[in-house]
């Protein structure tokens, strides 16, 4: 119910909820340091540690990064890497999470291995990929800065690059504050029919929102929601674009990072934090097995996990993902993760199993 700007009072309970939400998988308490790779020396490059052979990586000359992020965000990442390592040319391919995974699997099943590092926008995809042996196990020297719950069960496959969460946003020119939706249930009000935007079924974030709200309010919630005939999009940028111009009145899955970006541009948008919580999803990155540029891929992962990489992801407005590093500073607007009540799936088995239902329901809602 609170608009952004008021400090939410009950920090400790939120922290508890956060921790509970984060502890989704049973994590073996391993001594990470003892699992140091055999015969891989740790070197310091720039301001972080890496076990990649930088010279060999430079000889490889290239690194291919698959990501779910929008073009602007992905470009920011590869550009930053290119700046740090001019001899290694970083390229990206972006597609919405589902499309990205689809493409990746199709390629691999045909024996094409073109990817070095991959980033997904929801945890289920990463787990599935791990089951298929898609990740290259690499325990980065930077791994110590991450609490184990933000790593893959066997550390080194993938890690939580950052987290993003979403609430409700509306156009302040078209919607008066008193009429604006304050809770998730308010979105079911018929006045928002044909005036809302959401993501397509290929979005990882959307899957999380669907799962969590279904858990909270029952499957009937989404059946009612379908009557609102929302419009579906591929990324948060066009959603906020349309919201700012008034093509939509309300955005039903407004990522906070997107809101910040557009708010800074002076767009007439406002953000709502429903009391029941904000669905959140970690973005998960990892080195891919059978990578075409193995050394460069390890270097890239180490870079991503380092303070530099994490700072980029926090501070760049196109990315704006909260970092999980224990030594991470607050977000540019001063907020910390602990300031928000986040909804993250805990029952992994149930979560993964419901993906098919989600696909069917969501596609049907989207007119497909």
């Amino acid at each position: 119910m609170a608009e952004i700007g008021n400090k939410p009072p009950n920090t400790s309970s939120r922290r508890a909820a956060l921790r509970a939400g984060m502890a989704m998988v049973s994590l073996p308490l391993l001594n990470i340091a003892a699992r140091a790779q055999s015969a891989r020396p740790v070197t310091k490059v720039l301001d972080f540690q890496t076990t990649a052979d930088v010279l060999k990586a430079e000889a490889e000359g290239e690194v291919v990064f698959y990501t779910h992020d929008g073009d602007g965000a992905a470009a920011a990442v590869v550009d930053a890497f290119n700046n740090d390592f001019p001899k290694i040319k970083a390229n990206y391919v972006r597609a919405q999470n589902g499309a990205l995974y689809s493409k990746l699997l199709a390629e691999r099943s045909a024996g094409r291995f073109n990817v070095d590092v991959i980033q997904f926008s929801e945890i289920g995809t990463a787990i599935d990929f791990q089951k298929r042996g898609g990740y290259e196990r690499h325990v980065s020297p930077e791994i110590g800065a991450f609490p184990t719950k933000y790593l893959s069960p066997t550390p080194g496959d993938y890690f939580w690059m950052g987290v993003t969460f979403g609430g409700i946003a509306y156009n302040t020119n078209l919607v008066k504050p008193e009429d604006a939706p304050k809770t998730w249930k308010d979105l079911l009000d018929p006045r928002w029919r044909n005036a809302m935007s959401t993501k397509q079924a290929t979005s990882g974030m959307q899957f999380v929102e669907w799962y969590e709200l279904r858990r909270l309010y029952g499957p009937d919630y989404w059946k009612q929601f379908a009557k609102q005939r929302p419009r579906g999009f591929d990324s948060r940028v066009p959603m906020f674009d349309r919201l700012s111009k008034g093509d939509d009145k309300v955005c039903a899955i407004a990522e906070y990072a997107g809101y910040l970006l557009y708010h800074q541009k002076g767009a007439p948008v406002a953000f709502v934090t429903p009391d029941d919580g904000l669905p959140a999803t970690p973005v998960v990155a990892g080195a891919v097995s059978r990578a075409p540029h193995p050394e460069a891929s390890l270097l890239f992962i180490d870079w991503m996990m380092s303070t530099r990489g994490q700072a980029l992801y926090q501070n760049n407005l196109q990315l704006a993902y909260n970092s999980f590093r224990t030594d991470a500073p607050p977000m540019p607007d001063g907020k910390r993760l602990s300031d928000f009540k986040l909804l993250i799936p805990t029952d992994m088995a149930d979560y993964l199993a419901s993906h098919d239902i989600f696909n069917k329901e969501w596609n049907a809602m989207m007119g497909l």
């Binding site: 073009d71 602007g72 995974y101 199709a106 073109n114």
Partner: protein, 566 residues
């Protein structure tokens, strides 16, 4: 004295080997993806298992669940065809049968919308006609109107954009029909005493009707396979047609390949049937002409209506070219595009950002490279194919013509779907590279190339080649000294057509692009869906300008090179 040859048949074998080789290769490129498409459509087993474990009709049985999509597809295609025909007929009539001024210039201007990709048009019209943020609607509200004047995201709006950009072919085809009508047929009516209207109704209209009907069928088939407008305007508005549905199904995780393939095959079947009717209709012999010469039709005096009609023709160019480009520019220089921006909101930051994006530069470079390669290889291949079909006595050339024209009946996206499937498993590592795109372009544009070159080849007098033969020249010598030089203007025109078609291609490229092989039009689409419309507008304009420059350069070069010496 005649040269003795103990193996006279050896001469023919050389020809046959080359020709046969090219023909077989072309047939393979065309049929290989179709085979995989059919295989995927009938696959009812585990989708991850290849080759399919079970075959059946189940995928097709699921189609009625998507009847809304089928209905949308037919509805939009129908509306777009009607609009395109009306406009095409009107402008063809005005430019061929009346004395409106500057007819030659106008006729050339009518070709320009073809160079503006339908995608750009869809973007621009989205900026113009979105119910809330569209410029036209903002102006309308500013003038005191309520709600929205037009909604470009409605089915009618989508049909409008389709007709505007993809309907230029209707104008060309109907114009060709009018040009091929012998004026003496009308003169005979007038001499006996039939007035202008009677002549038009009883003589002209019935004579052009079959040609117009043929154009209608052809245009309808093209509209069925249309992709750009529905993608940009329809998808956000939850309006799917078969092509965009296929794209969506293929892009998800898990991808619904079998369903997509079944949809693709259905679309393909309908288009195939339409093309079949079209060929039957045309082959029955035109009612209008025998010789294939172009006549100069009789021109009607229109007096005061002259400038009105001129305006109608000009308005087409304005709506299809001028307005979209201006709109895109207008949007690209604003922070957030509105109809009445404040001066402080004007900026060039989007251009700066666009130019710095590697995707823009590499996509442009790739597209230019691909365009030149596809055009060059395409012209060589289609020249040989046209030769085999029209000028050789090789057995099976009728079948070859059929096979080569095949891709015309398959929507590009569906064909690319088959290609994706087909080339994934091919032992050569070309998937995801520019090579795959090159093969895709050459294959998909075979009908275009063969049609263009056949047109000039059949006009070439056979006796010119036969005389060379009797003079003792071998096939290769004759090809080099007689056939190629005489066909040069046609070959260069085909080159230019193939270049332009490659650069503006969307449906096939969007499925076959890889990280190292980004190309122009799909990358603009990606930007649209992943970035703000202002940035996309800037990207689109930059790319259009560069490609437009390349096109202009090539047009000048080819025109100069196609003038005979002497």
């Amino acid at each position: 004295m005649p040269r003795l040859s103990s193996r006279p048949r050896a001469v023919l074998w050389g020809q046959y080997a080359l020709g046969g080789g090219v023909a077989l290769l072309a047939a393979a490129f065309v049929l290989y993806p179709v085979y995989f498409l059919l295989q995927a459509a009938f696959d009812v087993g585990d989708p991850d298992v290849r080759p399919p474990s079970a075959y059946g009709w189940d995928n097709f049985a699921a189609l009625p669940d998507y009847s809304k999509i089928l209905f949308n597809t037919l509805g939009v295609a129908f509306a777009a065809t009607i609009m395109a025909l009306v406009f095409g007929f009107l402008t063809a009539w005005i430019l061929n049968r009346t004395d409106v001024p500057y007819r030659r210039t106008l006729e050339q201007a009518m070709a320009v919308p073809y160079y503006v990709t339908p995608l750009l048009g869809a973007f621009a019209w989205s900026l113009l006609g979105s119910p809330e943020s569209g410029f036209i609607n903002q102006i309308w509200r500013g003038l005191g109107g309520s709600d929205a004047l037009i909604d470009i995201t409605s089915p009618f709006g989508i049909a409008w954009v389709m007709a505007l950009f993809e309907g230029a072919v209707a104008f060309v085809m109907i114009g060709a029909v009018m040009k091929s009508m012998d004026p003496s047929l009308e003169e005979a009516s007038q001499v006996i005493g039939g007035g202008r209207w009677r002549t038009m109704l009883r003589i002209t209209l019935p004579l052009v009707a079959p040609g117009v009907l043929g154009a209608a069928i052809y245009v309808f088939a093209e509209m069925l396979g249309s992709f750009s407008a529905a993608l940009v305007l329809g998808t956000p508005a939850r309006f799917y047609v078969l092509t965009t549905a296929i794209y969506q199904l293929v892009s998800q995780y898990p991808p619904r390949m079998s369903l997509a393939a079944a949809m693709g095959v259905s679309l393909f079947a309908v288009m195939f049937a339409m093309m079949y009717f079209y060929r039957r209709l045309m082959a029955r012999g035109s009612y209008v002409t025998v010789s294939g010469k172009a006549f100069r039709p009789r021109v009607m005096q229109v007096g005061r209506l002259r400038w009105v009609l001129f305006g109608i023709c000009v308005s087409y160019v304005v709506l299809a070219v001028v307005l979209p480009i201006l709109t895109l520019f207008y949007a690209s220089v604003q922070k957030l595009a509105v109809a009445f921006p404040r001066l402080s909101d004007l900026t060039f930051e989007h251009y700066r950002e666009a130019m710095s994006m590697n995707a823009v530069r590499s996509a442009m470079g790739n597209s230019l490279l691909l365009g030149v390669s596809a055009a060059t290889i395409g012209v060589l291949v289609t020249f040989l194919l046209a030769w085999i079909i029209h000028r050789s006595k090789m057995p099976g050339r009728g079948v070859l013509e059929y096979v080569v024209m095949f891709p015309q009946a398959v929507p590009r996206l569906v064909f690319a779907f088959g290609m994706m499937w087909a080339w994934l498993v091919f032992p050569l590592p070309i998937y995801g590279t520019l090579w795959l795109l090159l093969i895709a372009y050459v294959t998909v544009f075979l009908p275009l190339g063969v049609r263009t070159i056949s047109g000039v080849m059949v006009q070439l007098d056979k006796s010119l080649d036969e005389c060379g033969q009797v003079c003792g020249a071998s096939w290769a010598y004759r090809m080099r000294t007689i056939t190629m030089p005489l066909l040069r203007p046609g070959l260069l025109a085909a080159w230019l057509l193939l270049f332009i078609a490659s650069v503006r291609e969307l449906g096939a490229s969007i499925l076959l692009m890889g990280p190292q092989s980004k190309v122009l039009t799909p990358s603009i689409v990606e930007a649209w869906f992943a970035s703000g419309s202002e940035l996309t507008a800037a990207m689109a304009l930059i790319q259009t300008a560069v490609i437009g420059l390349a096109m202009a350069v090539f047009t000048i070069l080819t025109r100069r090179a196609s003038q005979h010496k002497g």
